[in-house]
C-alpha cells in the first residue's frame, strides 16, 4: 500500500472520529473508516489485509460485545472486496459506490443481528446509515482521487 493511500485511509479514520463527535445520533454518522478501507482495497487489492486489519481494529476496539465477530466481519469484507477487485475491472465509480452501500448495509445488519437488536424500525436506521456513508463516499472519493493522482 502506497504512502498516499495510507494517508487517505488515515484521513478517513480521523474524519470518522471528528464526525462522531459532531453528530448526535450514531446512526447518522457515516462509516468513513469503511469508506477508507474500500478506497484502499479498490486501488490496491493486495493490501486488503492491512486496510481490513486497521478498519476492523478501529471499530472493534470500542466494542463491548462481539469484538472478535466485528473484527472478523471487516476481514471478510476486505477479503471479498479484494477478490472482486481482482476478478473484474472496477473502474466505474458507480460500482464502488454500490460496494460502499452494500458493505455498509451488510455490516450494519450484522451488528444488529449480533446485538439482537432487530426490529422493523431498525431497517430505517440501517438505510439511514448506508445513505450517510454513501453520501460521505461521494464527497471523499473525488478528494482522494485528486490526492492520489497529484
Amino acid at each position: 500500500m502506497s504512502a498516499r493511500l495510507s494517508a487517505a485511509f488515515a484521513a478517513c479514520a480521523v474524519g470518522h472520529m471528528a464526525l462522531d463527535g459532531l453528530i448526535a445520533s450514531p446512526w447518522c454518522v457515516p462509516d468513513l473508516t469503511l469508506v477508507g478501507m474500500i478506497l484502499v482495497v479498490m486501488r490496491a487489492p493486495s493490501a486488503w489485509w492491512a486496510a481490513s486489519l486497521a478498519a476492523g481494529f478501529l471499530t472493534a476496539a470500542w466494542a463491548i460485545r462481539g469484538a472478535p465477530s466485528i473484527f472478523a466481519l471487516y476481514l471478510a469484507a476486505g477479503w471479498s472486496l479484494a477478490a472482486m477487485a481482482r476478478q473484474w475491472d472496477l473502474e466505474d465509480p458507480r460500482i464502488e459506490g454500490l460496494f460502499v452501500a452494500v458493505v455498509c448495509a451488510v455490516l450494519t445488519l450484522a451488528f444488529v443481528t449480533l446485538d439482537g437488536a432487530w426490529s422493523w424500525s431498525m431497517v430505517g436506521y440501517l438505510l439511514l446509515r448506508a445513505l450517510a456513508t454513501v453520501t460521505a463516499w461521494m464527497v471523499v472519493r473525488p478528494l482522494a482521487a485528486r490526492w492520489l493522482t497529484s
Binding site: V14, H16, M17, A18, D20, G21, L22, I23, A24, S25, P26, W27, V29, D31, T33, S46, W49, L53, G56, F57, L58, T59, A60, A61, W62, A63, I64, R65, A67, P68, I70, F71, L75, T108, F111, V112, L114, D115, G116, A117, S119, S121, M122, Y125, R129
Partner: protein, 248 residues
C-alpha cells in the same frame, strides 16, 4: 506477501482486543488522538455560536444568582422547620466526580462512551454516570485512566425504575435506537405520556429518585396482560460532554 502474515497479524490484533491488560493499553493510548480530534472538532463547531454562548452565559449567571437567593431562603425555611421539631429527611449526600466524554462506540448498535476517569480516580464497575438532566448510564469497564460507560439506550442496559407520579415499578431497557422502554408494567398501570421515570434505588449502586427518562408512549397488551412504555432518556446522550460519576 506470504499468506501467513495476515493470519499472524490478525491473531495479534485480536489478542490486543481481547486480552484485558492489552486492552487497557489500547484504550489508554487511543484516548489521546481521539481526545485531540474531538476537542478540535468541538472548538470549530463552537466558533459560530460564540456570541450566543456569551449571552447564554450571562443569562445562566443571572439564573445562578437567583437560585442562590432561593437556596438561602429554603435554608432558612429548613432551619425553622427543624427548630419546630419536624423531622427532615435529607437525601444521603452524593459524592461525584466530573469526567469528560472522550469517545463513542463506532458500532451504532452498541451505545457506549469512553470517559477520561478510571480506577485511579476511584471509579468502579456499575457506578452511575449522570449528566445535568439525569442518568446517562453505568460503568461497564473501568481501566486506570478511562472507563467505558454503557448508556441507558444500549440493548444490554437494565435499570430498575419507578414512574415518579404513580410509583408504578418497571424495568428500563435500552433499544439501541436512542430510546428506551419501561417493561413489566401491569396492564392497568397508571402511566401516561409525559410521566417522569426515576430510578427505583434497588441494589447498592443506583440511588433512588434520579431522573432517567420521560414516557413518550404507552402500549398495553391485553393478550399478555402487561403494558410497556416507550421512553426518551432525560440525559442528552447524543451530546454528552461532561458527566458526573457517582462515587461510593
Amino acid at each position: 506477501m506470504r499468506p501467513v502474515r495476515p493470519v499472524v497479524l490478525s491473531v495479534v490484533v485480536l489478542s490486543v482486543l481481547l486480552l484485558e491488560p492489552l486492552r487497557h493499553v489500547v484504550l489508554t493510548v487511543l484516548r489521546w488522538p481521539f481526545a485531540v480530534v474531538r476537542q478540535t472538532a468541538g472548538i470549530v463547531a463552537t466558533l459560530p455560536h460564540l456570541s450566543a454562548l456569551r449571552e447564554e452565559h450571562d443569562r445562566l449567571r443571572a439564573d445562578t444568582l437567583q437560585q442562590q437567593l432561593e437556596l438561602a431562603r429554603l435554608r432558612e425555611v429548613l432551619r425553622q422547620s427543624e427548630a419546630s421539631g419536624r423531622i427532615v429527611e435529607a437525601h444521603p449526600a452524593v459524592r461525584g466526580l466530573v469526567g469528560h466524554v472522550i469517545d463513542r462506540s463506532r458500532v451504532p448498535t452498541q451505545q457506549t462512551v469512553l470517559i477520561d476517569r478510571g480506577t485511579r480516580h476511584g471509579l468502579r464497575v456499575d457506578g452511575v454516570v449522570l449528566d445535568a438532566d439525569g442518568v446517562a448510564g453505568r460503568i461497564l469497564e473501568v481501566h486506570p485512566d478511562t472507563a467505558l460507560v454503557l448508556l441507558v439506550t444500549d440493548a444490554d442496559s437494565r435499570v430498575a425504575v419507578l414512574i415518579e407520579r404513580s410509583r408504578e415499578t418497571g424495568l428500563l431497557v435500552g433499544r439501541s435506537q436512542g430510546t428506551c422502554a419501561v417493561r413489566y408494567l401491569d396492564l392497568d398501570a397508571d402511566v401516561e405520556e409525559g410521566d417522569r421515570v426515576v430510578t427505583a434505588g434497588l441494589g447498592d449502586a443506583v440511588p433512588k429518585g434520579l431522573p432517567v427518562a420521560v414516557v413518550t408512549r404507552v402500549e398495553r397488551d391485553a393478550l399478555r396482560g402487561t403494558a410497556q412504555a416507550a421512553a426518551k432518556p432525560s440525559a442528552d446522550l447524543g451530546r454528552l460532554e461532561e458527566v458526573l460519576c457517582l462515587l461510593d
